[in-house]
Subunit: 469 residues, 4 copies
């Protein structure tokens, strides 16, 4: 078996192909990891049984040791015989312990108790140990970029058309805020994941043979694993906890897609407000096209968007999995397995976006150039507002007609405004400060700078000493 045997492009192109990324994710998202998580839950269960005096502490330790040793190879081998993955695991653990300990392995549990708890545990840990540090690093990157360009004027664009100015830092600050809030959503959803230990139909049928307060035993097991106990379960945990979590990732990914789009559009040949650092590298060995030797392409940003397209529709799988008949049907079993791949791919998107951001730099001079070249029509907004403030009853229409005439006649709006008799009386009332705005619309970017700085301060404070990955 080698990495090029994989059928999944995620495995082949992204996960196996990047050794660091692989090393970071493997403990959580590999099939190997899944078996480890299941075994950890079985070990915790044995420990819980010992605490409830069902078995001795020694037995629990024996089981824990076996759980730590069991391998996916033997589990899969056993599954091939008996056609049941969790009973296969249980049998493999059982073979590694004494006959007396064997009977306590998995006792009172249904497979879903182990699987759902293992999933919650795995997602909680991968979020805490991989996703959040990666996101924290990304957010710090964006904060640094926003701060550095809090005063860098840039033309604002709506509908792809020049609108009114802002600063580049302000444009970046949008992403600080949006990604920051999504991080909170992800964190909240991860911390709300639940396992269960309520048995085959959720009514603690088996566990009630032991105790009259089985929910207490379940809660103890969950706490041991750092999870919250569930409200009530069928054979499986309520599907909404995982759905909320996948939604949190999917909606964060949408913000990445937007950022990636914005940044690659700023690299368009005609815009060039962002520059690929390697385009300026006199020793670059990087190839942009196999036939056009001059090409330097924003392919990393494009990759982030493309992976979003590959993964975001899969949220529907999770939503379809909300429907499971009666105490559960198994049509959510195979499909739910893809959640860990979703997480791994999301982690890759964070990683790739972070690299993409490092690879570009704003071209401040070019931003200024674009703004200067386009600023004349921009005057129309402050002109309209100032006319209105000074008493013009139809200021928007007056400004619209002037702007239209300027465009059609190819003359500066400022010039047409200055020579208009109709608006002269209102212009005369302008204060010096107001006149200055009309004279240099390139500075007409409101409180972009202040907003950017305040927002960066606020998010940096929230991040506090949060560790970046």
């Amino acid at each position: 078996m080698n990495p090029f045997d994989a059928a999944s492009p995620f495995d082949a192109r992204y996960y196996f192909a990047d050794p660091d990324f692989f090393a970071r994710l493997h403990p959580y998202v590999s099939e190997f990891a899944q078996v480890r998580y299941l075994a950890r839950v079985e070990a915790a269960l044995a420990e819980t049984l010992a605490e409830n005096r069902v078995c001795s502490k020694g037995v629990a330790e024996e089981i824990a040791k076996a759980c730590a040793a069991v391998t996916p190879e033997e589990v899969y081998e056993e599954e091939r015989c008996i056609q049941h993955n969790i009973r296969a695991l249980v049998n493999c653990i059982g073979k590694r312990v004494s006959p007396d300990a064997r009977r306590f392995v998995h006792l009172f549990a249904t497979s879903a108790d182990i699987m759902d708890t293992a999933r919650a545990l795995c997602l909680t840990e991968v979020t805490r140990n991989v996703l959040m540090p990666g996101l924290v690093a990304l957010l710090r990157q964006l904060i640094a970029m926003a701060r550095a360009h809090a005063e860098t004027p840039q033309m604002g664009r709506t509908h792809g058309q020049h609108a009114v100015p802002l600063t580049f830092g302000f444009a970046v600050a949008q992403y600080v805020s949006r990604i920051g809030q999504r991080m909170e959503t992800i964190d909240r959803a991860a911390k709300n994941l639940r396992g269960k230990f309520a048995g085959a139909v959720g009514a603690y049928n088996a566990l009630s043979l032991l105790t009259s307060d089985p929910a207490k035993v379940e809660a103890a097991l969950m706490r041991k694993l750092g999870l919250q106990p569930p409200d009530i379960s069928t054979q499986v945990t309520q599907p909404e906890y995982v759905a909320d979590y996948v939604y949190a990732l999917a909606s964060c990914w949408g913000v990445f897609a937007n950022l990636a789009d914005d940044f690659r559009h700023l690299q368009r040949s005609e815009i060039r407000e962002l520059r690929d650092r390697k385009a300026a590298d006199p020793n670059a060995a990087v190839v942009g096209s196999s036939t056009m030797p001059h090409k330097v392409n924003p392919k990393d940003f494009e990759n982030v968007k493309s992976l979003w397209k590959a993964y975001v529709p899969r949220l529907l799988t999770v939503l379809m999995d909300q429907v499971s008949e009666h105490q559960r049907d198994l049509t959510n079993s195979a499909s739910m397995r893809f959640v860990t791949e979703f997480v791994a791919a999301f982690a890759y998107a964070v990683h790739r976006l972070s690299g993409s951001l490092d690879a570009v730099e704003p071209d401040v001079a070019r931003m200024r150039e674009v703004l200067e070249a386009g600023k004349d029509p921009v005057t129309a907004e402050p002109l309209y507002v100032l006319l209105a403030l000074h008493g013009h009853p139809d200021a928007h229409e007056a400004a619209r007609v002037l702007a239209r005439d300027a465009r059609v006649q190819g003359r500066p709006l400022a010039e047409l405004a200055a020579s208009s008799r109709e608006i002269a009386p209102y212009l005369a009332k302008l204060t010096a400060a107001q006149r200055k705005v009309l004279d240099d619309p390139a500075r007409y970017f409101g409180t972009a700078t202040e907003v950017t700085r305040a927002l960066c301060d606020a998010w940096e404070k929230k991040l506090g000493s949060e560790r970046a990955g």
Copy 2:
């Protein structure tokens, strides 16, 4: 124009066709309502301007009056001329006020300031006034059903196969918990919706002509409308607030779909654990099929599931709308309009599900009959657990072989167990209480009753005196 002119099946079949439902939703989701909400925001803006001494209080009142009077007919007429919906509204308001007041209408605002704020306001109000009361009523219905049947034994089913017992109330309690939690999610998302008043590119460009603290003015306007101020905006509000809200509804709808599926499967001819009340009505005039006169179908539950299929994929539209280039492109404008239809259809699903629940009743005797007929193999689980507790090292396998032989030979499992020499020594150790479980597996439903009651208590407490719709 009449209701049968509509192209949308939602309008034609569900909304126009049910006068009460129409009356309840019309103030929020009609195109008429949209214009009303936009006008309300314009009025609040004028009031805010007056508070900031931009215009007089009298002017603000004049504008407020005009806003209250403006009709969709005139706005659409004006839009046909100038091709811009918000400027059309502004012009219509302007025509209804004095020239001096006219210049203050919409001043400092971009269209998205009005539209996004109006959307947030509308969704907040329809949630509070329609969705939540409907959901509260639904939850109370389910709580009542769960309580009434907390002790009604029922066969549990996984994979469509008899598993181990529970109570019908416990099965219903799952939905109390799931819908209850979704209500909290919906409520949280609704309360987190945001408007904005930050102008054309979000940097308060125009508003900065007035004040050095434009965010304060924005916050004041938001508070006046009962909304939270945003963190930062482009031309538009961050799309995640609405996405979270639509997700909350979509994921709640998935719970409805599951409930509808469960209940219609319990009505299957071979199961019949739920009964359609009208099937027992000696005067029923209802037709079940145009060719099979004997049919009584669970079509209302089917409708709830079907509408879920129609609407849940639309969540992807909202997620695609997260991507809007630079300070915004308009490719999210038409698509976002469908959010109000989504809300309306969700409200219909609540309404229809509630009616469906009223229309059925559990057949307790039939539940008992199914359980009695199927209870023998159920013994396998407690048998396995008790054998293990009493020292059998391979209890699951022993019980599996007995259950298999019982199935293949067509003999009772209890009988085979009783006559097995291999397990006799362990059975001999059973306590009286344990033996009783094996003797009557129909009572083997764990703490189903207790869990159900505790959960109903908890949710009823949370609901408190919450008004039902």
Copy 3:
């Protein structure tokens, strides 16, 4: 009831708001139309019964007359009493005929026989009478544009970066080909729609009381309505026929979205290769922004993309509706109703895209200007290919290094190439024609012109005298 009462934005904003569009679609997609189609199928059924001597020709005529007269108002009124839409229709028809005729109305049919056949009939006719003429007109528009600019050079763009040139007509020809092929797909899918007349579970149970060859009667009914008979049915027609049809529309819509994106990007302030005609209109009354009086936005193209986002995810509804238990469950009933709205919205997209195309014109001079400004690096491709042809073993790498150095040093690639000793020997071998390519890379657009013309010829021939809408 008025148009502003609608909850569906499609009804309110697009369908009711555009009288011509409404008039064109209403006969097919309104609820009124649905009732008409159902009644037409009932009439055809009566006629078929007469042909099979079940009833007299006079009875069939009586029924046909009643079918033509029945109104949605009375059908909905009846449905409110008996809770069944098709039996309601049947009763309303029955009330309009003599008692002896009444018994033949709907005889042998199940509701789905009527509904599925009506749907197939409606979709066939709306495709033939509305969609195809609209698409033919759109295709002719694109052909005209492609032809007119078959020789207009334009910079090619990949990854948003200047690549190598083509002609604007060639870029448009892509859409001629893609939309042309989608039209064929739509046409094929529409012609493959099926009705059925096989009764409650598809086995012709009732009809077998009449004849031993019921499939022949079904086929006769289908032919009478211009439809193909089905292979085999359950209670409902196989869902794949409608799925194929909706897919055909959805995938055509994707091409529109791509075209809309391309055209709006060409209107970007920095590119300006396409021009909005109204931007040059000295009398334009159109408003682009409620606060930025200078704005002229490509909002119609944006609308086409936005509606695509609103509708394309709904294809999943149709695919979910493929699953219907046993001889059918009804969870596909409400959801399938949205197919006609999908068709109506698609028709609107065709209409809107067609208008958008009329509203813009290429700015040939600007295309040339962009191309001239960017043409130097373009030389890298022909340089590489010609070096290779003339014997350079690593021509791509040589050209890449030259292009990189040109970029880093800010010098013309042509100049660097001319002064390179390493490549001089190969350059010396160039023919005059080859040298000319390097000297004017703006003419390096291959057979763009010829391909465009040949393709336009081919599609025009295929269209033949096809009527445009």
Copy 4:
């Protein structure tokens, strides 16, 4: 690297875990296979160049040999240096040939020429060599089952309620027809896949340096690979060809999901019309549940449905990939890679469904039992139709009232009908054959048998000697 390192559940659980399946798919869907396909296209390109006298036949052979030898390991290694996958491949091929041959590798081609052609080739071959044989085998399985039970009466079910009878073979025949038609759709889509050799922006820019009829060269290359030439291309092949293909698979999968649902519902404990063969195996070692030793679950059918939920939403990715700006952006690159995984997973679903069908058998006696127990109300349909035929003006309503009374009073419908004065005169007119239908409604299954046989004949004829996999 071992199989348990994979993050993709498809790789880990299904593809790597089943050696036969892996062996069958690996030549088409592994990353190894992707490199092989790319190299094959490069070899064919060299051959085409030789045919056009660009290089010698010897050079082409040298390149072909290198293409056959190149390994993914070296390509990935090279890609790490130059950051371009196709140029990496080209360099690796180049290193394996003489300097003079090297310059002809990839000449005139852009990366997408190779990648898109390789994809078309791969999908064509995997369809022909793996998918179609698997589908043929599946269809033959279903035909055999339909034929064997063409006369086995079964209760028909709509809305989960007993409707009127059919035969089990007839129910299976639906899937023969639906899957058969989908196979035709898949085959048609596969045969319509296209490659391209039109260069960087589709205008044959580079190839025009060689010839004035570059499309002819492209067509020759395509034919050499067994592909059709495209109409026109940008940098990439038109996306609709692959979209049609993925849609064909997705819609076929929907039929599988429906079949899987039907069959697992027939295995419900209360229905039991289908039987798991292993449930009757006296030596079965298979475990159904890790806690309920008696369980035998239809988990293979559940798996087929679950994988459908995992994959069908991904069709949207393909539809989103229809939008690629201008001559292409790269946001469709990563996402398109998942198409081969989709194909592999579809192949797995075919394989798994086929195994699932082998594992079950209809319980004919139980089908008869269910039908006998439920047949009385079924009489209502033939009763209504016969009453109508014999002159009753309101036969449906009369039958409905009788059926309702029978249900409410718990009396046989036949008895109530017999004792009704109102319908007596009509019943008196019944022929003996008609009376027989009412007396034994279990035989009221129309032409189910004949339809089944004719349909099986027709599909078997279509299959002809088609090889099964």
